[in-house]
Amino acid sequence: MSQTRSPLYFALRRFADNKAAVVSGIILGVILLMAIFAPLITPTGYADQDYLTEALSFPSSQHWMGIDDLGRDFFTRIVYGARVSLSIGFSAALFAVLIGIPLGAIAGFYGGWADWIVMRLIELFSVVPPLLAAMLLGALTNGGFFTIVLIASLFGWVQVCLLVRAQVKAFREKEFVRAAQALGASPGYIIRRHLIPNSISPIIVGFVLAIPLAMMLEASLSFLGIGVPPPVPSWGQMINVGMDFMYFYWHLAVFPTLALAVTVLATTLLGDGLRDALDPTLKGR
């Protein structure tokens, strides 16, 4: 009992105790690996119409998820769909964090008018439904990968910003910050070296929880036909196509639906688990 244990050790132990989070992490890892090594585990390219004669055939030992209406191997499309979904999720979350951290830090550190402006900005983003703005922006830029990342990060930074702001506000008056100020440290230096490192757990949580939101937005937009343009496979777009064939060819609707549900669920549960592990006081919010 003499050995001192780091906070990281306790966070890891809390995380390991959360079975749902651990299982979700493993599932997400497998999906991530499948997305990265997609060319190695799939028989053809995602847009290759190699099986036109067998179009719409049901799952078999050769084609695990069947063939789609245009003669493409459906398993291949689902796996490449994971690439689209995950890359949009991760890059949107990254940009959301990059916007949210400085704004949250400035609002929390300076307070006053800076805080007022940031809070009005947040209010603006909370009353406009992201989907409507996304549809408008999508029409403006003709959709595509980067538009979706832009929209998802524009509406994803709010959560990160609020978390960082609260953390910075709480730490601003701590002794070590006062000490740094007394030693002549500039506000920028204090924010960079002391306040942001101390906000690392809300930042991680905000990052992970922004991923499923971006993935859902991508799927919704692709479902409406203004997301990732075909033939790049996206689960939302595949669900939309699958709807037309649902009565006779169930596989075209079921597999993308399951893929999207499992991935979003796993990411959310992983995020919840990380939040509970990194900051037990936030539990259940």
Binding site: V127, P129, L132, L136, L140, M246, A261
Partner: protein, 309 residues
């Protein structure tokens, strides 16, 4: 309190103005106009005449001011895609189906979610608690069109119990209402559970137990009342959120409601309708948040008298 409300109203006006300006500019930056569609090609001269008749040849600021002046008089213009009626008339026609479905979804989903959350909190860490957590996480993380899809697959395609869509017969409303109810149910189950657990660990509950009050009275008279506070605030915004949810649910179940107009107004460059829809939703969200905050303050004396909660 009055000063607070006036301040908030001013802030809503500011938000409304900024949103209207941004949306207007974005809307007009989208290339193409309402008469550029390929299904009914018209000559350039005709196009110019049509644009002029709708005032689309005027400079943008004039169009904006003209439109906003109309909005201030509750005149939202005439939708380009159905010029036989005003935007107000179109809304009066298309909104009721969305309201009926979305409203019943919330009114069924919210109480169900509260009951589930309560039961889960009272039976903490049992299989029922885990079930509620699983259901509520699923409801919050799966997009509503995926939920609709699953409902159609199971109840229409496989079991053939209910029609996959339509609006005329009331029993075809069952599936869309279920799809609408998923999100409120999940939200309320989750909030109620955590709010109840939060209150149940407070010292005053221990005092009530020590006083010899029955568990039933503690739960229903004291815990529930305190836990209800945060639940009140999410109700109105959630209700309005069904408006955007209608885009998907109505497309899936082929309901002739408001949802399709969100998409078509953007696709067809139907500026008056597009502007009206977005401004309306924005305004309703602003007002809903304001009302929620006021109700919260009225129900919670700790906030009303400026104390710390």
């Amino acid at each position: 309190m009055l000063r607070y409300i006036i301040g908030r109203l001013l802030s809503i006006l500011l938000t409304f103005f900024v949103v209207s300006l941004i949306v207007f500019l974005m809307m007009h930056s989208v290339p193409g106009g309402p008469f550029d569609g390929n299904d009914m090609p018209v000559s350039d001269a005709v196009k110019a005449k049509l644009n002029a008749s709708l005032g689309l040849d005027k400079p943008l600021y004039e169009q904006y001011l003209r439109y906003m002046w109309g909005v201030l008089h509750f005149d939202f213009g005439v939708p380009f895609q159905s010029p036989g009626e005003t935007v107000t008339e179109l809304l009066a026609r298309a909104w009721p189906p969305s309201l009926i479905l979305g409203g019943s979804g919330v009114l069924i989903g919210a109480p169900l979610g509260i009951l589930m959350g309560m039961a889960a909190a009272l039976r903490r860490n049992t299989w029922f608690d885990y079930l509620v957590s699983a259901v509520s996480t699923l409801g919050l993380t799966i997009p509503v069109f995926v939920i609709s899809m699953m409902l159609i697959m199971v109840f229409s395609v496989w079991l053939n119990w209910l029609p996959a869509g339509g609006w005329e017969k009331p029993y075809s409303w069952i599936l869309p209402i279920t799809a609408y109810a998923a999100v409120p149910m999940a939200t309320y189950a989750r909030y109620t559970r955590s709010a109840m657990l939060d209150v149940m660990t407070k010292p005053f509950v221990t005092v009530l137990r020590a006083k010899g009050l029955s568990e039933r009275r503690i739960i229903f008279q004291h815990v529930l009342r305190n836990a209800a506070l945060p639940l009140v605030t999410v109700f109105l915004p959630m209700f309005i959120g069904t408006a955007t949810g209608s885009i998907f649910v109505e497309a899936m179940f082929r309901v002739p409601g408001l949802g399709a107009y969100f998409v078509s107004s953007i696709e067809l460059r139907d500026y008056p309708l597009e502007m009206s829809l977005i401004l309306m939703i924005t305004m309703m969200f602003c007002v809903a948040y304001l009302i929620s905050d006021i109700v919260y303050a009225l129900l919670n004396p700790r906030i009303r008298f400026g104390g710390k909660s």
